[in-house]
Amino acid sequence: MVAGADMPPSGAPGTDGIRSQRDDEPDVRFTYANERTFLAWNRTALALIATGVAATQLLPKLQVEWGRRLLGLPLIALGAVVAAESLRQWRANQRAMRRGEPLPRSWMPLVLTIGIVAIGAIAVAIAALGSG
């Protein structure tokens, strides 16, 4: 059996590929996908926060004063930004799917990449200053 053979084809009468035939709720698969994306971003936020806390609490004292906080606090802040943004993105996606509009562009991957690169640079600077 071909997967999706029983599903209404995208663009079929009564559907637009996003909405279900029943009501204004989007197709359940899209709702689930949006939910999983939110959860994945939320886990990323939790991982950043846990790493930040671990950096401030579990690392041995560094030679650079405030070194652990310089490393940990940006990670926690980035985690908080990702968590807040994930809710906004979930809401925007859900709204777009209900209206049958294109999904809004997400800046989160770019913000996350820049943030992690910046924190990596901080770590390198701390290591260089500590060994100097």
């Binding site: 709720e25 689930y32 999983r36 886990r43 939790l46 671990a54 802040a77 985690g79 908080a80 968590a83």
Partner: protein, 108 residues
């Protein structure tokens, strides 16, 4: 009036979503454990207490998860969780971040 039967769960979207919720629960447990490490550093003799805490966390998570899934089932398969559920999760994550910031300034 004839009703259209529910489409099959192509791609097992529901199952993957349930697994995603479970992974998120585990991530919360790990984050809380890292924070607790500062408040209450467990020593070698505290293994039973630690195991008890982990067991209690599993029970609490299972109960919350069951309530969440049952409430979704009552509302029908086509309805997402209410927005308040997502708000609550985000608020909880932000609260953990805030506790982490406070903890970083009270580190020994």
């Amino acid at each position: 009036m004839a009703t259209t039967p529910d489409p099959p769960d192509v791609g097992l979207a529901a199952e993957r979503t349930v697994l995603a919720w479970n992974r998120s629960g585990l991530a919360v447990v790990v984050c809380v454990a890292v924070l607790l490490r500062h408040v209450w550093p467990l020593q070698g003799t505290d293994h039973e207490v630690a195991l008890g805490l982990i067991g209690a966390a599993v029970i609490v998570w299972s109960l919350v998860f069951a309530v969440l899934m049952l409430s979704r089932g009552k509302r029908g398969p086509y309805v997402s969780h209410p927005e308040n559920v997502f708000r609550l999760i985000t608020a909880g994550t932000l609260l953990l971040a805030l506790v982490g910031v406070v903890a970083s300034f009270t580190a020994p």
